[in-house]
Symmetry: C3
Subunit: 375 residues, 3 copies
């Protein structure tokens, strides 16, 4: 029989950040994905991940990923270990073309959501697609199918350091609780999601991946005092309608890369008077362009520019405030070696403080740095 | 010298659940061992365990078991890593017949408490024995003795997939804090526990294990508002008397298996008026019958039926409410392969909501499913 | 390519404690570093550490150390996994003489702070040096330099079981947030620290290490009700001046060992009336003497005596109360084998309860025991 260390392996990565607000509404800056951004933030461990993974047998693959940079709600100390993923892939066939992924895992919606933060160029995901799902993940069961030659293509993109997403199937369908990763279910119903994506390889080796996805369910937001008044919810007890459809297209950087996504939908949103949550429409997306520079004496460079736009309710924040985003980022990722990456970003923010009432908009330019080590 | 990975190993298991209330007092259902049961529960990761273990040298064995499905009290997000076990076995002799287990570990009381949830047929333990000890564990020191031929018999039961408990000694004696796993001590005294069990092997290979156990100490319950009034405690500052004696008998399934336990004792319990906690008597137990079906094309089947009964205070819940249980379960565990198990249970509940005042009784039939993967 | 288990390793240690107040102000005893000390404390897991470490490549070393005996603030259950360390050592040269340590790690201030709790004789660190930094650690970047022959000397001290600190450089300089391990930054500025130490080896093999360190920054304490009144802070918004300079000298036990440190500084401190936090001076240190007894049939003995003194604000406790310490400890560490250590200490406490107002002083003799297992 195999030794335990041939069935189970350990790997991971850590992201260390520093940010400085260069200009704009300095005191108003509050950026929900990164606590190093804003007035009193200096050094921050954004992610500290360990992955325990392995092919346990021909039909079972394991994936458990705690993040050691998590804080229980209400605690003034952080850096606790909390699950991101904890799932089993149960393969029906020897070629692993058909499988069900059970447990807590990523919801197959969007490309950027599925791409690991270890591989992403921008320091954080775009709000438009990412607002679909708290921490991109939920508890449920997901069916994935991809024929072998497509699975090989997903692998090739990763092996060639082209910033892929890994294999989330050519076709995906899933059911899940819908309240977000690490949250208890809020109603009796489930969310449903489906996705189709196709990575087309041209004869010159270029790969263009494009696809479509949709999800629907009922979401129960949390509410709390905002300006001395707790907004009421204009929704049935089972929660607000939560529906989206999105498209994505990715030209992998050989050497020029282009990536774009957009989605439209409906969900809960705080009204103008900040007195009531109502069902509202939302839409938004992003475009990212990059150019891969190889063959340097020291590593690889990825200069990039990203524009993102979003108008909609931030459903998983308290009171589901209206979030308006119109950001522009100029960045450079330097892969010094395979295990060490440095990223610098000039982030021109034009967005909403969704963390605290009265949910004001601000404009600010923030200089952001990240050191990442992979293991 | 040995490599680290030959001294230390990693293994574990995860339990994924789904429940649906089929009939009865649907809105009243609240089942403390499983949050997927009840109105707003859908998918749940009940346990996500990693075990770090090993024989460090001839006299020291290590066992550390965090559960990644834990929630700090007061936090609205879960899936944090919290210890179940963290102990050292210090062996006095080369044969490891005599040892002391120091740290946080299981209290040697009852058979079902000691049997791992990885091996148990029923999805949750019976209330009668399990109410002795929060999470079956505590912080302390436990002496275990078993002669080599008995240790071999404990191992044989496990190796033959007969749903054993592992080796908790033929004789056990321990002292521990008494407030439950992961809790701070509440008084200056310790709890004491002792247990004797004997696995008799008949000439035809059948094994019948039977034994007796007892514990005593002083327990300090927590109280809080119940119906706008916080009950008072009719006990000295050092806490309520907490005493139990129990018996167990297990015929291992070759192929027919039968398992029964019962215990009697005294402990804190909320009075009828829900105004005061007083010392009261308790008693209860269970009977479980199963039949092991091997040699199928796909895995092994364990159909089972379990009846349990309990009348007593649920001491580690707030206000130690009176808990009346009279449940019947019909279940089937399908071990598809060694690493994948599916269990379905029709659970006829007749019990008390011990989680929130006014601690009402309810009747309901719940259909429950579990997928477990072992690694 | 190397296997994962040749790049990454796992080790750790656990400390199990029991304490009993022998005489003195029994009801008043409250000792912040050890919850087993005091009226309602019996058995305690003080530390349960796992270290995930490794040389990932020639330029990157990894160190992640969660402690499984941590409690989120506000939670009534403990034993959650929380980071102590999570850092990368980035080595500039092949000999690893020059490196930067990035992430959360120990602040290079004091000798005892840097010495691992796994190796320390006394059960807890002295208040005078340790009050510099919550959990001895913070988030930041630290530069270390030590020439190869000094690095070898640091290693020799560890290999010979002489209770060393490991290699924190001959010279160190760092910047860090300053609010303590696992805390968010409280202002926009950084703390700075520097340290120089030199381990001199005499011709007879004796090693005498001596050095100096200093740190400065701005610290923002937390405040809360004390006697029905929350003290105000007499400081700018960016926090109180936080400055220290210290000296250390260590004669390693071959067989007689002597270790002494002292430091002086300024920082926040609650005033006499307990109404206001003001900038105040502080000073204190300790002397520890030991004698190493090898060559016994069973292991190694380290009898030791430690005296410590401190007068100053305990800045990282709520309201930064004035802490007066004048403690004497008589102890014996018995290394039964490399993996198992037993320590007994007669601790004569003369100190302040810094955990709760009115922050009274008490005198008490406490008998303390620790069992430690290493893996």
């Amino acid at each position: 029989e195999k030794k335990w260390y041939d069935r189970i392996g350990i790997r991971g990565y850590t992201q260390f950040r520093y940010s400085s607000t260069v200009s704009g509404d300095k005191d108003a800056v509050s950026y929900w994905p990164d606590k190093s951004v804003g007035e009193d933030g200096s050094f921050l461990i954004r992610r500290a991940r360990l992955v325990i993974f392995g092919d346990i047998n021909d039909h079972l693959s394991l994936y458990i990923q705690p993040d050691f940079a998590s804080t229980p709600s209400g605690s003034s100390t952080g850096h606790f270990a909390q699950l991101r993923d904890a799932y089993a892939d149960i393969h029906f066939d020897k070629n692993k073309e058909f499988r069900v992924r059970v447990g807590q895992s990523k919801i197959p919606y969007s490309f950027e959501n599925l791409q690991s933060s270890q591989n992403r160029l921008a320091l954080d995901r775009n709000d438009a697609m990412n607002s679909c799902c708290r921490d991109e993940r939920d508890i449920g069961a997901f069916f994935y199918w991809a024929p072998t030659h497509i699975r090989d293509r997903f692998k090739e993109v990763m092996a060639k350091n082209l910033k892929g997403s890994g294999d989330y199937g050519m076709f995906a369908f899933g059911i899940y609780n819908g309240q977000g990763a690490n949250r208890l279910e809020g109603n009796n119903g489930v969310h449903m999601v489906t996705r189709f994506t196709y990575p087309h390889q041209f004869s010159n080796g270029q790969i263009l991946e494009a696809g479509i996805q949709a999800l629907r369910g009922r979401f129960v937001p949390s509410t709390g005092p905002a300006g001395g008044f707790t907004p009421v919810m204009d929704a049935p007890e089972k929660g607000f309608k939560d529906e989206r459809v999105g498209v994505h297209a990715v030209l992998y950087p050989q050497p020029f890369g282009l990536q774009a996504e957009w989605n439209w939908g409906r969900g809960p949103q705080l009204n103008d008077g900040q007195t009531m949550l109502t069902e509202s429409s939302l839409n938004g997306g992003y475009v990212l362009a990059t150019y891969k520079i190889d063959g340097l004496r020291w590593g690889t460079l990825f200069p990039f520019v990203k524009w993102q736009h979003f108008k909609g309710g931030q459903k998983f924040e308290r009171n589901a405030p209206r979030n308006h985003v119109n950001d522009l980022e100029f960045g450079l990722e330097w892969q010094v070696m395979k295990e060490i990456e440095l990223t610098a970003v000039y982030h021109m923010m034009n967005r909403t403080n969704v963390a605290s009432a009265p949910y004001e908009r601000y404009k600010a330019d923030v200089l952001r740095f990240q050191l990442q080590w992979n293991y």
